[in-house]
């Protein structure tokens, strides 16, 4: 806006404040990174604290893999997250389109079901879900981790709104050309809501990659652990070495930070949309 109208002192103050907040918000990550790079010979409790490792080493990353199958955890997390993204994009787009563009008896009822589902906190049904998974013989499987959030009601409603916001004209034209519902959906509607789909994909990925409580309940075999509960396991079992835990957390958080830096605008756009979720 109008920078010239501001006195230089104000600008300096603004930057100083920005730098202070910067230190608070990414300082902890950098400290964790620094800890993860410190060798066994270096005292991590040294006083005053040493911010830059004196002899940086990547050995902790190899060591953490000796202690727990951290790459296996990462693979599990990836499988779960990818499945979650795919299911959410496909399921939410299909349902959203039907709700926005088709007229049929019971539509209101269906919308209501989705809204109701939105209101139920996941934490209050987790025990019951665990029972279901158990009786379906799915407990301790990655499928059980994916299923409850496979098509979230929020995403369905998001997609519904996105489709509802599209103009009718083009679709009506294609109707004359004899396009059926599926063709209208894939050729005309879908390409127009790419942005919303990206938001759905990214937030599904993030929620799934970061999810903790549900996998903690439904998985009990370390071979099946996702990264988040794997890290908790690492902390509980081998807490003696902070360097290893630091390396583990960096492995878990790095992919998301990189993804965020690459796809920032979708992350920001998703905040407005996802705000309903709470």
């Amino acid at each position: 806006m109008n920078i010239r109208a501001q006195r230089p002192g104000r600008i300096v103050l603004r930057y100083l404040l920005l730098l202070a907040v910067l230190a608070i918000s990414i300082g902890p990550f950098l400290w964790q990174l620094s800890t993860s790079l410190k060798g066994v010979g270096e005292d991590i409790y040294s006083y005053p604290p040493q911010f830059v490792p004196s002899e940086p080493t990547a050995r902790n990353y190899a060591r953490v893999a000796d202690v727990v199958p951290v790459w296996g955890f990462a693979l599990n997390s990836l499988l779960v997250a990818v499945a979650n993204v795919a299911a959410n994009c496909v399921g939410a787009a299909l349902a959203g389109y039907a709700l926005a563009r088709m007229r049929f008896f019971g539509r209101k009822f269906v919308v209501l079901a989705f809204v109701l589902a939105l209101l139920v906190p996941g934490e209050s049904i987790m025990i019951s879900l665990f029972l279901m998974m158990r009786s379906m013989q799915l407990s301790n499987t990655l499928l059980a981790v994916v299923l409850p959030g496979a098509v979230s009601a929020l995403n369905v409603l998001l997609m519904r709104n996105a489709f509802a916001g599209l103009s009718y004209a083009v679709e009506e034209a294609s109707l004359i050309d004899g396009a059926n519902a599926w063709q209208r959906f894939t050729r005309i509607a879908l390409p127009s809501v790419k942005g919303t789909i990206a938001v759905v994909a990214i937030f599904s990925f993030m929620f799934s990659w970061d999810d903790f409580l549900w996998p903690l309940i439904v998985l009990h075999d370390p071979d099946k652990y996702t990264l988040t509960i794997g890290l908790n396991y690492l902390q509980g079992t081998f807490a003696s070495d902070q360097r290893l835990i630091a390396a583990g957390t960096i492995i878990a958080v790095a992919p998301l930070i990189l993804m965020f830096l690459a796809l920032q605008k979708y992350f920001f756009r998703g905040v407005g949309a996802g705000a309903v979720k709470g």
């Binding site: 920005l18 990414i26 088709m102 139920v120 890290l231 902390q235 920001f268 756009r269 407005g272």
Partner: protein
């Protein structure tokens, strides 16, 4: 590395800053603007005689099948099941009879329940004011397009993308009795003995709140940025001409203009805070603090309902309480919002 200078300008709902989000869950299945579009479109279609009914009768249901099946099966059915189980003495290893309200009367005499309820409520009280106010100030700080601002916005958002577990572990290490925070405090001669952030009952809860606030700042900052962009600039300028300082302009111009967003942020953060689990779980090393004094309601639900001796009935009853109170919190904040609109 940071490319998008105008992220906030491209936010959705910029013109209609977010207020629809809360309303949508209240009175209508659909955010109002979209619903109007749809109705208008529906009329148009009918009038033209063709309409969107040009499909096979089962088509919509085929489209809905995956989403609806998942929602009914893994949200609504477990929800109903939870309510039913809440009135039984079902165990993890099967069995269970209807016991009426026994689980609920048991709650009244269960000290753990009251501790958990108190902590979850305290969490709301401790977290919400900060998450309503701090991100707003932060948003105002990054609002102007000065050089490098995109970098700062991205950096401030980073804690949001990290999982709670990662964030919890990072802070566990920072707040350790020999961790960075204590080292720095010692170096500055603020304290002589390490502060027991993670071992003292009260400090542990406060530390967990700090982590929640730290992680939530960036998210709500973006929500506020979208709202701030809608505050008419001439209002500010007029106030400035009248000689109002920045503090007075904040209270007389900014706050009234974005009040609905503040209520929204309050509602969202309150509901999330009431359901706290991971922060306390991780910071306390899964124990719930000394003597379990920092256990939250969700932690209690998990603790009671799992394991070989898990009590599904009681755990479900606790879940029902969680649901009712969460819903109550939502309704309460929406009531606030409504009053605001009337006024």
């Amino acid at each position: 590395m940071v490319t998008d200078d105008n992220a906030a300008d491209r936010l959705p709902g910029r013109r209609e800053p977010n207020s629809h989000c809360v309303r949508s869950s209240q009175d209508a299945p659909v955010p109002s603007s979209a619903a109007t579009d749809l109705r208008a479109a529906g009329r148009g279609a009918r009038r033209s005689g063709r309409g969107i009914r040009r499909h096979w009768r089962a088509t919509p249901w085929l489209f809905l099948l995956p989403g609806l099946a998942i929602t009914l099966l893994f949200s609504l059915y477990p929800f109903v099941n939870t309510i039913i189980l809440a009135f039984t003495d079902a165990q993890v290893l099967g069995g269970g009879n209807f016991t009426g309200g026994a689980n609920f009367s048991r709650m009244l005499h269960d000290p753990q329940f009251w501790t958990a309820l108190r902590n979850s409520a305290l969490y709301v009280v401790g977290v919400v004011p900060f998450l309503v106010l701090l991100p707003l100030l932060l948003a105002m700080l990054v609002q102007r397009h000065i050089p490098g601002i995109a970098f700062f916005r991205a950096a401030f958002y980073t804690p949001v993308v990290a999982s709670v577990v990662v964030v919890g572990l990072i802070w566990t290490w920072l707040l350790d009795s020999r961790g960075l925070v204590n080292s720095v405090l010692k170096a500055l001669h603020v304290v002589s003995e390490p502060v027991p952030f993670l071992t003292d009952e009260t400090l542990l809860l406060i530390s967990a709140m700090l982590v929640t606030i730290w992680k939530g700042l960036g998210y709500y900052m973006i929500v506020y940025l979208a709202a701030l962009a809608n505050v008419p600039r001439d209002l500010h300028e007029a106030a400035e001409v009248d000689g109002a300082g920045p503090v007075r302009r904040f209270f007389s111009v900014t706050v009234p203009a974005i009040r609905p967003t503040m209520v929204l942020v309050g509602a969202l953060s309150a509901v999330a805070a009431f359901r706290v689990f991971s922060e306390i779980y991780i910071l306390s090393g899964s124990s719930g603090g000394p003597a379990g004094a920092d256990i939250s309601l969700v932690m209690l639900i998990r603790q009671v309902g799992t394991g070989l001796n898990g009590e599904l009935g009681y755990s479900s009853a606790l879940s029902v309480v969680l649901f009712v109170l969460t819903l109550g919190l939502m309704l309460l904040t929406m009531r606030l919002n409504k009053n605001e609109e009337v006024a």
